[in-house]
Every structure is written in structure tokens, then in C-alpha cells.
Symmetry: C2
Subunit: 390 residues, 2 copies
């Protein structure tokens, strides 16, 4: 993990610290050019004297006006009714996961995840002393049968899943599996935590309803964020769940002391929601990322002979390269060629996924993506040749 | 605790929800009128295209430019050199405490606190499964002898202290005690967590150096915040500590996944630091709060015959009322008279402090403070009379 984290650190301080020479296809960040500074500056300018309470300690669950605007936005985006009472405002998915681990688990508890899974979530689980068990997946995502077996065997506290445009695998669970998974978790009294940050980023038709659609009846927490659809630096996201589950979050000591987690930033983003600016920005992102996803897939076919279906949403493409059985071993050659990526093993609980890698198409434009694939092809050629004596 | 939390909830949604009739002297919030919306709007307007990286995932420790500005501001305010390397940017003291508990303690560990102590910190400790032990204090704060004894007896993980303008007791530790306390914690390898949010809010001369002055050498984390000196709704604060201790925070899973905790809000506040606007605002707050503290003390003397030294800083006055041995029992009469306060017992680990109460002078202006004391006097008269048959 050190490498990606290191890469992020560089990028995050000032974008110019990213080596101009390196194309870092591990980066799951939005492009700097897609960060809507002017929209946000304009929203700040529209703060009125009556917004002054949003500089005060905030209501623990999040400002009601903001939650109403967010509920309206999500009802449209999800195609299913979302109520403000089911929303808890937080600083993004990482904070949501940290809070959920603090309040709903104890060190030593087991958490089920997909194999592969989002590797930085795995680090949060480790910090909370949780034992992680990987569940088998196929090209549609988590296998309900694997879940059923693990629920009986491990008596876990929680299932963590990325149902739509999975990170890293890109998979999207079909509706019937979603229903079965929710049903199984409810039967076993296991909290289902769905990381749905990519759900709204669809390029090719709407995905099935999010897990959020099951949240009202309890047992399910759906995590969402403005990081992927607006700007990560705002540190603004939400948890959707039954009022009963949200109460556990709202009444914890941390919230009781500090109040709401994002009164000011939610006031800013509220302005973008009420004017439809967020929706328009999301449409733009869908078009841009969709074109990038297709360009990346096309380059992979042309330059590497890899046939991958273009992702239907999200930030990532998950693939293997012909003849490469250990993508981690390919990294030095890739870096030498001026490109890098996230090797599959980082996403595995069990040291597996070695023949896979994750390419992100969120940060770079189409030209650089094509150039990155060229370099990857060069690295892969050089990498295979010694072993094969060619 | 329910009452104060409930009171906060009401106030926080919209200020108008506070009953116009009730004067809530338990509220540790800044006055709405002191929240500098126009300063913050102006700062947002000054965001430039080169600030765009601050909409990206941020550097885990916090943006270096912001930390440099903050270090400059604190060096002036503390009268002791602060370096950007010793600062970690976070969402305020509650988040800081939550993070510190997650990363530096385990459930079942013991934490030492002053008796009395900030009751919402106690709730955060409870959420982390920590066992809290109270330490004796006098009118200068924590007694080093009590600490020495407890360190040997409990082998605690951590000491939590409010060294300056204590919440609730208003005490300020003299320099020699600070040195002795740091020394004792270091000898026993116990983390010293100093909540220094009131340190800069001095009305009557400078306090001794903050515990932050000892942070560079390790073993000490000093917590600071813009909640008391600018606006709570920004959710922006910092932890000052040795680079080694800060590394534990910066490299945890939560930070590794989400990046810096406040890239955008720190960019806004950075503008206020670099132009001296924050410093000027702080000077204004010192004058306003100082005048309120004196007015409150004066009213108490005139209307209740209570002689209390005017607080030298912070938000609170801690006192007893003649003839009132249980301030919690006084609450119904106080509410009936249209005033409320925080009874001493809320701040006690051991069910003590029953004859004390905390009055805040941060939220109301001088006229309302005087009116609040009038009502308190009325309640105290009515309260004492039945028992005394007068």
C-alpha cells in the first residue's frame, strides 16, 4: 500500500509534484481540471446572513435543509425515494467507515469483504482490530452462496460491499443478488455496509437500485460521497440508514461533543444542490469519464491485444495482461517505462489476485491514457521476454 | 448529559429554535452575532485557480502552506516557536480525541482526567471502552501529587487535561506544575493530551506557556481549534505533537483512504491567517468575552451575593451558590424561572461536584447574562425556601 499512498501524498500537496514523466494509473483521484473551483466559489458567495447558523456547532445528524436537498438529489439519481430522516451527514466514506467500526464493532470481530476489495477500507478495518474474511466473487460481484456459507461459519459483525462499479473489479451486482444478500444479512443479524460512492457515476444506462433502497427497513447502511462527483477536498459525504441505526451515530460521544460533522461545507454544497448545479456537473462527469473508459478499453485492445468490456461506470478497469502471472513483479519495468498501476494483490485479503491489475481512468485525459497503455505494453513486452528467453 | 446535548441540538439547527424565553447558561457556543460570516465569505472569494489542489484529496498531515500559516499564528499567540512539522490538521478537538483514542488506546485502558473534567470528552472515552479515573485539583488546576500517585496505581494509557481556562473549572495551571506534570507523564511513558482550545482566549494578561511548548520533545499532544476563536461550523482544528507521534495519526487507515481531514476549510481559514484577519478577530473576541466575564461576575455579586474572581479567559465560570448543596436539584426551579445552567455533577467522574455549577458567558451578551443571573437568584430563593421553611 505504501506506493499508492506515497503517490497520493505527492499529488495531493501540489499537483505539480506528480512527475510530469510518470503516468500513474493507480491514482483514483478526479482530474485537477474537473475540480469545480469556480462553482464552489460562487456557492460561497451566495451564503446569506440567514446561513450564519451553519458556522455554529451543527445538528448532529446534519442540517435538515441540506439533508432535504440531498434527499431530493438522491431520489432522482437513485430512482428510489430517499427521505431526509434516513440521511446522516459526514466527512466522506473513510470517516463513515471509521465511525461505523468504532460504534458497531469491537476489536476481534470479523468483517466480510469481497475478494478483491477496496484495499484502503481493509486498512481501516485493521486499525479497528477487525479480522477480515474474503468472499468469492464472479463477474457480477459477490456470490450470495459464498456469503451464506461465511455467515454461518464466522458469525461476523459486518459485511462490507461495493455493489455498483466495484473498486477494483468494476462489477455491478444484479438486482436479484442484491435482494438475496440483504435477506441473508438480515437473517443473520449482520450489518450490511454498502460503499456506493460510484453508483451515480454511470456511463452506460442506469445500474440496479442501490443498496440504499433497502436502508429504510434497517440492517443496511449505504455510504455516499461528494468526493467522486464534486470534490474530495470538501470532505463531505453521507450515510443512509434507518433512523434507528443513524441514532447510534448521532448520539455517540464524538458527535455529542463536536456537533454535526460538516455544517459549513454542507451549506456550500447545499447551494449547488438547490440550483441543479451538482446535477449538471454530474452529467458532465458521466460524459467525460465514459469517454475515458472507452478510450482506455480501446487502447488496451489496440496496443496490448487485451479485450476488456468498457466499464459501465465508476473510476476503474480491472484486468489481466497476457503472459503476466504476477503484476506486482511487472511494476519495476512499468515504472522504468514511465507508467504505474495498482497490482491486484493489494486488493486481496489472502495474497491472491496476483495476475490482475487495476487501471484508473479518473485522473488522466484520453491522450495520456493512451500513452500510459503504450508504456504498459512496452513494459509488458520487456517483462515477458527474459522469462521466455525470446 | 441529555439535557445539554438536547439544548445544543435545538440551537444548532436554527438559532430561532432556542426558546426566546429561556436563557441557557449551559451553552458553550459562541454568540451567533460573533460568527464572522462575512469574513469567511470574503476568504472564499479570494480562492484562486492555484488553490484548486485544495479541492483534491489532501496531504494527510494537512496542507503545508496552511500549516506554515498556522504555525506563524500560534508562535505569536503562544509566545513560543511552533513549527509546521509539529502540526496535524483535523476537524476539531472532538475528532482529535476520537482519533487519539482509536490509535493510542485499547478498550479497557485507563485514562486519567481532572475532577471535574469536560463531560463530553468523558463520553468519547466511554465510547472507546476506556476506564476513566479522576484526579484531585485545586484552584490552580491538577495536583501533580495526585497525578504521581495515580500513575503508579493505575498504569494509565493517557492523561487528558485542560491546562488553561479549564472547562468547567476555569483554572489555569502555573508554569511549575506544567513542567512537573509533563515530567511525570514522560517518566511513566504516559501520553499527555492537553485540550488547549481556550488558551488563546485570554482577557487578563497572558497565561503560562501552553503544554504545546513541550510537544516537540514527544509524549505530549496539544489540541487546538478554530471553534472557539472563529466558527465551530468550519470543523477545523489541529493537533500539535512530535513528528513521530503525528506519524501514527497521518498513516492510519482512515487518513490513508480519505487523505487530509480538512483541505477545503483549511484553504479558507488560511486566507484569514495570512492577512491577519484571524488575529484581529481574536482580539475582538478577547474584548467581548472579557467584558461579558466581568459583567457576569458583577451580576453574581450584586444579585446573588456570590464573590467570584472574574475569569481570566475561556468561556466559563464555575461556582457554588450559598445554601445550594445539590445544583442538579435546583434545575427545575431554574427552568421555571427561565434560566438554565450545567450542574456540577455532569463534570464529575465520581458523582461529585454536586454543589457546583458552570455558567457560560460565551453565548449571551451582557444584558442577557444579567437577566439570567436575576432569574437564577429568583430560582435559588424559591429553591431554598421550602427546605428552610422561610
Amino acid at each position: 500500500m505504501v506506493y499508492i499512498a506515497g503517490g497520493q501524498r505527492q499529488v495531493q500537496t501540489t499537483q505539480s509534484e506528480v512527475s510530469a514523466d510518470l503516468i500513474d494509473l493507480a491514482l483514483g483521484h478526479p482530474s485537477p481540471g474537473l475540480l469545480p473551483l469556480s462553482l464552489i466559489r460562487r456557492a460561497a458567495r451566495r451564503l446569506r446572513p440567514e446561513d450564519r447558523p451553519l458556522l455554529q456547532y451543527g445538528y448532529e445528524q446534519g442540517d435538515l435543509r441540506f439533508r432535504s436537498l440531498l434527499a431530493g438529489f438522491l431520489s432522482g439519481g437513485y430512482g428510489t425515494e430517499v427521505s431526509p430522516e434516513e440521511l446522516f451527514v459526514c466527512g466522506g466514506v473513510s470517516q463513515a467507515l471509521d465511525l461505523i467500526c468504532s460504534l458497531f464493532t469491537r476489536p476481534g470481530d470479523r468483517v466480510l469483504v469481497e475478494e478483491p476489495s477496496y484495499f484502503l477500507a481493509l486498512r481501516i478495518f485493521a486499525d479497528h482490530g477487525l479480522r477480515v474474511e474474503g468472499l468469492a466473487t464472479d463477474r457480477h460481484g459477490l456470490l450470495p452462496e459464498a456469503l451464506r456459507e461465511a455467515l454461518g461459519r464466522f458469525r461476523p459483525a459486518m459485511l462490507y460491499t461495493v455493489p455498483t462499479y466495484h473498486n477494483p473489479a468494476g462489477t455491478t451486482l444484479p438486482q436479484d443478488r442484491r435482494e438475496r444478500i440483504v435477506e441473508l444479512c438480515r437473517e443473520h443479524g449482520v450489518l450490511l455496509v454498502a460503499d456506493e460512492v460510484y453508483h451515480l457515476l454511470s456511463f452506460a444506462g442506469a445500474p440496479p437500485s442501490p443498496m440504499a433502497a433497502f436502508a429504510g427497513r434497517g440492517g443496511v447502511l449505504s455510504l455516499g460521497s461528494f468526493s467522486k462527483i464534486l470534490a474530495p477536498g470538501l470532505r463531505l459525504g453521507w450515510i443512509q440508514g434507518s433512523p434507528e441505526l443513524l441514532r447510534t451515530l448521532s448520539t455517540c460521544g464524538f458527535l455529542d461533543s463536536g456537533g454535526g460533522l460538516a455544517p459549513f461545507t454542507s451549506a456550500i454544497v447545499g447551494r449547488l444542490l438547490e440550483r441543479g448545479t451538482q446535477e449538471a456537473h454530474l452529467q458532465k462527469l458521466r460524459a467525460v469519464y465514459g469517454a475515458r473508459a472507452r478510450a482506455l478499453t480501446e487502447s488496451l485492445r489496440e496496443r496490448l491485444g487485451v479485450e476488456a468490456a468498457p466499464p459501465a461506470g465508476g473510476f476503474f478497469l480491472w484486468l489481466g495482461l497476457p503472459g503476466v502471472t504476477d503484476t506486482e513483479a511487472l511494476l519495476p519495468a512499468a515504472r522504468a517505462a514511465g507508467v504505474t498501476f495498482a497490482p491486484g494483490r493489494r486488493f486481496s485479503v489472502s495474497g491472491g489476485q496476483r495476475d490482475r491489475l487495476r487501471l484508473s481512468f479518473s485522473y488522466y485525459g484520453q491522450g495520456q491514457l493512451a500513452e500510459g497503455v503504450d508504456r504498459l505494453a512496452e513494459a509488458a513486452r520487456g517483462f515477458r521476454s527474459p522469462g521466455k528467453g525470446s
